[in-house]
Amino acid sequence: MSAAEDRLSSAQAFALGGLPGGTPRPVPRYGHGSRVPGWDRAADLEKEPAGIPDAETTDVPADLRAEIEAHMANYPDRRSATLPALAAAQRVHGWCSPEAIEQVACVMRVTPAYLESVASFYDMLETSPVGRHSVYVCTNISCSLRGADELYEAMAAAAAGDGEINVRGFECLGACDIAPMASVDGVYVGPLSLQDVEPLLEDVRQDRPVLPDKQLARRLVADPRANSRQYPEHPAQHEARSGVANLELPTEDPGTAIGEPPEDERPGPTAAIEEPPEHHEEDKS
């Protein structure tokens, strides 16, 4: 082997990210040879651009139309209703499908392209088909310090093959006090341990309220000085919500409760402190 050839091969190996002693790391490429995803779905340049759908020929479910129109009435500019309208269509269709986009475009009198540009920006609007139930596992810093990465992997593995459940690692969901946590169809639950994965998914599959004891809605504030009296735990979220909707007062008579002297005993932490996940123990470094 000549020196020139040898030089070439080591330089090539280095360029490929491989190091002497390691195998060269191939650069992932898509079918069309590009390193950028999406370019293989080349636009059909012959096709006419989609305009605002014709209201006469586009079939929009009456409920969806009413909801979108109600949202549009809330704003001085109808386009402000884009996000709520797309969210409504997603609830009906499961994702922002071309059909869903067309229906929203028809009611809002905007082009489908405009709506797609918006839908592709936001994490909660799905641009490809997904399972009916969403399980967002927060994997941001506060949760990951308490073992969220392991939780997410376990959750994804346990739900793998179940097309109905869409497990996603999500950025900070704003519930670091119950870390590690997940948002299951919008309901926050935590702190979760690896043992909670199966019961949680079973609740989802059975359409039951998810882990009622671990729902955020039931938690009292952490500050021990906040409440001058001991309050009962909040009802679970599904009960609380129906309570909000009906404006029902809790069964306890607050009129008599308000005169009660403050409890000397301060409420402590509102939930058991989770055992630290194992990886905290072992020194990763």
Binding site: A3, R7, S10, A11, G17, L19, P20, G21, G22, P76, D77, R79, S80, L86, A87, S117, V118, F121, Y122, M124, N140, S142, S144, L145, R146, E171, C172, L173, G174, C176, D177, I178, A179, S183, G186, V187, Y188, A217, V221, A222, P224, R225, A226, N227, Y231, H234, Q237, R241, V244, L247, L249, P250, P254, I258, P269, T270, P276, H280, D283, S285
Partner: protein
């Protein structure tokens, strides 16, 4: 261990778990909407004076004086807007969630008073889409407030009219940035706008717009009740009042606490939140969300207020304290932080879009043993080039903590680099071989 501070008054969290506080009936029995009645008896200018006298600084992150912000709005009859930023997506922050879920009426009352002072007639609450329970709670409270005549035409017989709409977002960190939020509220992608013009002059629908955080607006009724000067006696001279802090990470009692600004950080982390578990110590902590430069254990005695933290080279931000104990490698913290900003960068400005991406790649090279200590210099310079070169501060929000980690934990990074290289079979000798190979010099017997 320091004892919890007992003498601090609780203004926002007092009896927040009282059953049914989210209903108008309980809220009013506790004196709710009295501040609104009082404010409507005053002129808007008098309300503004109270806000200015209170010295209240924005609780969302920037810490700008709220009264001054209101006074920036042009006077005269025109369409003015008030927007409440309830996007709360700064990692580590969850104080607004607690307020909106349990006491939605205090926010609504605060918004009506603030809109009255600013002369705004249309108002919006932009709440992040993930907060379903909180948005439902607000919607139900709004319906009650409308029914009681607190919203609508000629509120309580005054000449002030106002509408209020809860707008649900759909999951994007950048929509917490005020101009990104405005674009999103107008129904577009949440790309930030060039400033100036500032929202106070040209904001929502190109009209003058006042944007404030949930906690800031929820404090307004208290200020009217107490009087601005009385409120200003709390806290320190330049950081008045109380603040909600969200403590998370490696502490025994994570959660929301209300503190008087200016108490030592140690009292919050150890006294209130219980500190790290037995046998662990604080390695570093973010004083104001994951965007704030980190501090080390020796900084725990700093007073927790806007100016002291600014002097220490960091910021109070949203009041989210994230504690990292000594069991976690600093590289993990840096990588997690950088990956978040890479994901959330809207892609509009090159330094942020590329800088966040390359920072993640360089940090990953450390883990795989491909990095050399020189990479730390490059990484630090990348952070320098992001700062101040973009339309908004999302890029800075990554550059500041990563830059501070490299500066403060340089030795640990270097050790990590060396260890990872050894694990790859690249000792010091192999390292020099590699350098030679990169220059094209053939190496005999390379591993």
């Amino acid at each position: 261990m320091a004892a919890p501070v007992d003498n601090a008054p609780l203004l926002l969290l007092a009896d927040i778990d009282e059953p049914g506080l989210y209903t108008r009936e309980v809220y009013e029995r506790r004196g709710g909407y009295e501040s609104l009645r009082a404010a409507l008896q005053m002129s808007p200018a008098e309300v503004l004076e109270q806000l200015k006298a209170s010295g209240l600084r924005g609780r969302g992150g920037a810490g700008f004086a709220m009264g001054t912000k209101v006074s920036f709005l042009p006077k005269g009859a025109m369409d003015k807007y008030l927007v409440c930023n309830a996007d709360e997506s700064e990692p580590g922050t969850f104080k607004d969630r607690e307020l909106m879920q349990k006491n939605p009426h205090v926010l609504i009352e605060g918004m009506i008073i603030a809109a009255y002072a600013a002369g705004a007639n249309r108002s919006f609450i932009y709440i992040r889409g993930e907060y379903v329970l909180q948005a439902d709670s607000l919607d139900a409270a709004l319906a009650e407030a409308r029914e009681a005549g607190y919203l609508g035409e000629s509120i309580l017989g005054s000449d002030h009219s106002q509408t209020l709409v809860v707008h649900r977002g759909a999951g994007a960190y950048i929509c917490g940035e005020e101009t990104g939020l405005l674009d999103s509220l107008e129904g577009k992608r949440g790309n930030p706008r060039l400033k100036p013009p500032f929202p106070a002059n040209q904001g929502l629908y190109q009209g003058p717009t006042l944007i404030n955080n949930v906690e800031t607006l929820s404090t307004v009724p208290t200020i009217i009740r107490m009087g601005g000067e009385q409120y200003a006696k709390l806290g320190t001279e330049t950081s008045t009042g109380t603040k909600l802090v969200s403590v998370s990470g490696h502490v025994q009692r994570p959660g929301n606490y209300e503190i008087e600004l200016g108490i030592p950080a140690r009292e919050i982390i150890y006294g209130l939140a219980g500190g790290p578990e037995e046998g662990r110590s604080v390695k570093c902590w973010f004083p104001g969300g994951s965007s704030s430069p980190v501090l080390k254990a020796e900084d725990l005695d700093l007073a927790y207020d806007f100016d002291t933290l600014a002097k220490a080279g960091t910021m109070l931000g949203s009041g989210a304290i994230i504690v990292v104990d000594d069991s976690t490698p600093i590289l993990d913290v840096a990588l997690k932080t950088a990956k978040f900003y890479r994901h959330e960068s809207c892609g509009k400005c090159t330094p942020c879009r590329e800088g966040t991406n390359w920072t993640v790649k360089m940090l990953e090279r450390i883990e795989t043993g491909e990095a050399t200590p020189m990479d730390l210099e490059i990484m630090a310079s990348v952070q320098q080039h992001i700062m101040g070169n973009c339309l908004c501060v999302l890029g800075d929000a990554m550059a500041m903590p990563i830059g501070s980690m490299i500066a403060k934990f340089r030795e640990e990074f270097e050790e990590h680099i060396e260890r990872a290289r050894m694990a790859r079979g690249l000792g010091t000798q192999a390292g020099s071989d590699l350098a030679l190979a990169a220059q094209g010099v053939p190496v005999e017997g390379a591993h």
